[in-house]
Symmetry: C2
Subunit: 155 residues, 2 copies
């Protein structure tokens, strides 16, 4: 199912990326439609998978997830089996927010979220380095987060 996005669709998506719980009545007003065609467009965007889902965004610091650590991972070997096992393991840990497979310097980069450094080291020792695929881990702790956005650019 292919949907070509017109200006109104993009306007809807921009608004919903900022406020996913806006009422349809207000959304319609913002994009210059009446409620029913507006809701119809939203439903089409959902069915087309363009809107994947709606989520609540929590304040990391207030739920004990204030620290972001990047972990660069080296694998023991470079085969499909090892990669698959690693992917499965990584999916289980809620602390792992993002995981990318890379070429070059290391084999994978993880963004890991914990309460503080102590929690992180415990996570690394107890879980990360115990994944059978993992040979070694190096960590980077950013001093400051300048930006973290969920809003994809449209056009």
């Amino acid at each position: 199912m292919s949907v070509t996005l017109d200006a109104i669709d993009r306007h809807i998506l921009r608004v919903l990326q900022r406020d996913g719980r806006i009422s349809n009545v207000e959304l319609a007003r913002e994009v210059g439609l009446s409620p029913s065609p507006c809701l119809r467009r939203v439903r089409l965007l959902e069915e087309a998978g363009i809107i994947d889902r709606y989520v609540a965004v929590l304040d990391p610091a207030k739920v004990g997830a204030g620290l972001t650590v990047f972990a660069r991972v080296w694998f023991k070997t470079q085969d499909a089996e090892v990669t698959l096992r690693f992917a499965e393991a990584v999916r289980r840990f809620p602390e792992v927010m993002e995981c990318y497979l890379t070429t070059g310097e290391c084999d994978a980069v993880l963004r890991i979220v914990t309460a503080d450094l102590h929690s992180y080291w415990r996570f690394q020792a107890d879980h990360l380095t115990r994944i059978p695929s993992v040979l070694s881990v190096k960590t980077d702790v950013p001093m400051e987060t300048l930006k973290r956005s969920c809003e994809l650019p449209l056009r």
Copy 2:
């Protein structure tokens, strides 16, 4: 305003992180409350800033943002002025999804989202390298994204 999260609050947050548009009636059923105290808890979590906001999550590939590139940035100098200017510039670009200031190898790491490699190079040439603070940029293109989650771990 400090709110201590009990088991029900964490349950609510877990559900809302998965489905930010669940009706209050169904949310109440899932966490084992009646609708009114459930809604009251949600409102308190919002007012306390624990729930920061609600957003629609789009499919990057379907809105022309299929490529993730990590850009490591080196600054010309290391003072507050340069950092501040850089932060302001970075905030303006919707393509920059995340930006971290780091120590060690480079000065900043950016996660940048574009449609494809061609769009990325254009963005880098036209915008990124033209930020006055920026001395040089090196890019890392992950082969594969194994995980990208919005859900913070609770407890």
